[in-house]
Amino acid sequence: MTRYVLRRLGLLLLTLLVASALIFALTSVLPGNVGRIILGPFASAKAVANLNHQLGLDQPVWERYGEWLWGIVRGDWGKSLALEVPILPLVATRLLRSLGLALFSLVLLVPTALAAGVVAARRQGGLFDRLVSVVGLAIGAIPEFVTGVFLIFIFGLWLKILPVQALPQGPAGLGAYLLHLLMPAAALTLLLFAYLFRMTRAGMVEALAADYTRTAVLKGLPERVVILRHVLRNGVLPTITVIGAQLGWMVGGLVVVETLFQYPGIGSLIEYAAVNRDIPLLTGCSLVITFVFACSNLIADLVYAALNPRVRHALGERA
């Protein structure tokens, strides 16, 4: 098992390396003179050339990549052009806030989607199943900022039961924080709910129809035991892997939701960087987001390997 973990970590590093190259390419090498992009179409050619030189853009690509990469590893991520502060500490604080929001969303999302999927599968074709499927499907297709707008309008402005700002104004306890975060988290949750629900439902349906479930029923086991011990294990397993992949969408959703609710997380930071053409900041944010995403996929894979005896043994035997 340890060899598998090590191998996956190695793969993670490789992926990050490739990703970093891609990020670097997109931000520094692609068509589009970087200096021109930053300064806009009205700046003079000389100003552009100066900026390019300042940013070290007239060096060969490999050198620039190597220098940049070395800087990243050392912890020197440069300074934001627009905000003029060091990037790494800024990105770090923002990341933590975003992770808090994401965690809250997951806590809302995962239990409800799993429970709903299990219940729907038990009563396939019933009212609950069809209702949740269609409604979840419909809402899940809507971009987060749209749901966010609707949520703000309905709960914040019309019914006035939830605060519209994402952060409390003064010092506040955990309860107040969570209340303020409720709408942004709900916007994220609603998006992913449909997909997780369907995966769970499909996995459960397949498990319920499986031969081993028939065996369990025909052994005369109580229904509770059949569902809890025989069906759930196999039915929910595919969903676990999917959760890892869903985090990718969540990250994208974070960008939009934070921008809409003006929450000072990494999502709104990267949007700011993009709109203001702040290349170094954009690069830094992209790196961090990619890293978090890749890590969450890795964790999901490891969890799956730990839960699936066949994979676990195959890996154990390799040693």
Partner: protein
Amino acid sequence: MRWASALEAVRRAPTLAVGALMLLTWVVTALGAQWIAPYTAVQLNLQAVLAAPSAAHWFGTDQYGRDVLSRVLYGGFYALSIAPAATLLGLVLGGAIGLVTAYFGCWVDEVVMRLLDAVMAFPIVVLALLALTALGPSLVNVIMVIGFVFAPLIARTVRAAALAEVRKEYVQAARLRGEHLPYILLREILPNVKGPLVVEGTIRLGYAVFTSATLGFLGLGVQPPTPDWGLMVSDNRNMLTTAPWTVLFPALAIAFVVVAISLLADGLEELTAR
């Protein structure tokens, strides 16, 4: 006979019918925007700034006095021009990669999958964000970026479906006859992955609308005064309390279209699964 089976399809998958109807509404209004819209999308009327919905302006006006209804209708035309093109690009690219890599297997498969994994290591929005910043926002760039970003996901689905077919005996029989690669991929395998491909394509279409609206919202799509729905929501979001119609109607339009496509995709999936 054809009508009977169409009716049957509607009965078995009502979501398909509803989705198709909604989608048709969008396409018709979008294509006919020129003739249906009471005003143009950029017509200023500084006399009636931020006017609430009324007989003259069904959806009200925004801060420049532009008619929101007309902007929403023209926005539909704009969305119609992006989403299908981007989806088609993704389907062709992703489909080709998926088929080829599934057929050859072994090292080709490994290499391609690793590459795809690396690209998919990026959350889509971040990738699109980076690419558009580098390339500059424009209609063509948005289409290309969305298409290229979707290709790996489509390739995965096509590959999974094709893998199941490649091992089957009719493919072996074709190889035994000495059939060439293009024939095997296109005439033997492709017809049997049609189902998942169509469903995936429809889902991608929905996501294309989703993504282009999101990019518009983030300010990375086309620039004002082009009536992009996402851009309209973003521009006017500060006026949600004072003039909600400027935000709500574009938001509803987005919701309408993506829900329509989702229902359509769901109905198609039900039909092809049986």
